[in-house]
């Protein structure tokens, strides 16, 4: 009984580990079209955020006196 219980506990843990390893393989597979699409969509969204929020500075403003 205890042996089958350990097996039952081990099975979900093994499934989680397998899921994590699949996700890591997906995230690092540069030849996968879906992975590249998701990464580039995320980069596009990040670029839009940077353009909208981090671009309000004046290059010709006088330098602060230290």
């Amino acid at each position: 009984m205890s042996g089958s219980g350990k097996k039952a506990v081990g099975a979900p843990a093994g499934g989680v580990v397998e899921w994590i390893s699949t996700a890591c393989r997906f995230a690092t597979d540069r030849n996968d079209f879906r992975r590249n699409l998701l990464v580039n969509l995320g980069l596009f969204a990040a670029g839009v955020w940077v353009a909208r929020n981090l671009s309000d500075f004046d290059l010709m403003s006088p330098q602060p006196i230290t």
């Binding site: 079209f33 590249n36 699409l37 990464v39 580039n40 969509l41 980069l43 596009f44 670029g47 839009v48 940077v50 353009a51 909208r52 671009s55 309000d56 500075f57 004046d58 290059l59 010709m60």
Partner: protein
């Protein structure tokens, strides 16, 4: 002041295979030599009571289909390689010639002679028709365009490209600008004898002063083969930004242009192709320091290609210098270029 290089027609490159798919319109490849010279758009006809209420004003003409992504693309630096000397000389108010000497280790070096004629039919403060633009290199290859405003709302263009005494590309298009829409039809490389050609139709409609929607249909035919590709486009214009999205059977193209202030403009671009199963993102910025007569453009993309172009006008001389460099980390290549423009 903007980019000096943008004021000149883009240098045409010879088509390697001779003929090709017409485009420059989002997702298809374009035969070289078919780019428009910078001509400002026709102002839409305004009704007498339109100036009274701006908030309730009807949508105006949305511009052309090709211009939707242009604002973002102009932020990115142009790839330069080798040395180029350009001398522009205006012979009269209507006629200008240019001499271009190119020295390059990757492309052909040579000399190009260009001429531009602008007619006397004035339709706007800085716009006259017809416009004839042509240039020829030392091997006799010719690129020529004729643009004419037929009526107040109809504009036509004819473009021809020859290479080594043979016609490589020829196209004709008509554009109609209504009050709140633009439609255009382009006929590319028609050959009645063998029954081949390309037809491109564009339509862009202003839904509101900020939103424009449109579509493109490309039909190509040659002996034993024919096909059509469609795509849809949507553009939203804010107070200081423009967001554009093109979706079609060949893929997707999204661009975001942001004008932070008078000096800084940014652009982000996403391109994805279902045919090549590739996607790419590019981020570019443009710094325009008018007080210093300096223009700097930089870009980086997801393929680890970094590029920058620095343009400096040497006032009071009619001279401008441009330095450019592109680095491709993946392919381990580096290109740099130096341009001098006189006049």
């Amino acid at each position: 002041m903007g980019s000096v290089l943008a004021a000149t027609p883009p240098p045409p490159t010879p088509s390697p295979g001779g003929g090709g798919v017409l485009g420059g319109t989002g997702l298809l490849s374009v035969p070289p030599g078919f780019s428009m010279p910078p001509v400002s758009p026709v102002p839409p006809p305004t009704s007498p009571g339109q100036a009274a209420g701006e908030s309730a004003s009807p949508p105006s003409n949305p511009g052309t289909y090709e211009e939707c992504h242009r604002k973002c693309k102009e932020v990115f630096p142009m790839q330069m390689e080798g040395v180029r000397l350009v001398v522009n000389k205006g012979l009269s108010n209507h006629f200008q010639v240019s001499h271009t000497i190119t020295l390059s280790s990757m492309a052909d070096s040579g000399y190009r002679f260009g001429a531009t004629y602008v007619g006397t039919q004035q339709t706007g403060p800085a716009e006259s028709f017809p416009v004839l633009v042509g240039d020829m290199d030392n091997s006799g290859s010719l690129n020529a365009q004729v643009i004419h405003q037929l009526t107040r709302t109809v504009r036509s263009k004819i473009a021809i490209q020859t290479q080594h005494h043979k016609f490589v590309n020829w196209q004709c298009d008509m554009e109609y600008r209504g009050g709140n829409f633009t439609s255009a039809v382009t006929l590319g490389n028609p050959d009645i004898l063998i029954g081949s050609g390309i037809i491109v139709a564009h339509y862009l409609q202003s839904i509101s002063p900020a939103l424009a929607l449109g579509g493109e249909l490309v039909y190509h035919r040659r002996p034993g083969e024919e096909g059509a590709v469609t795509s849809l486009i949507g553009r939203y214009t804010g107070s200081n930004y423009v967001a554009t999205l093109t979706l079609g059977g060949a893929g997707a193209h999204a661009s975001y242009y942001h004008r932070a202030n008078d000096q800084l403009q940014l652009g982000v671009e996403f391109e994805g192709s279902t045919q090549t199963r590739e996607t790419a993102v590019s981020f570019g910025y443009q710094l325009d320091l008018a007080k210093a007569n300096l223009l700097f453009k930089g870009s980086v993309d997801s393929n680890l290609v970094m590029g920058a172009v620095l343009e400096k006008k040497l006032q009071p001389l009619p001279l401008s210098l441009a330095l450019g460099a592109f680095l491709n980390q993946k392919k381990n290549t580096f290109q740099c270029g130096f341009n001098v423009t006189v006049g």
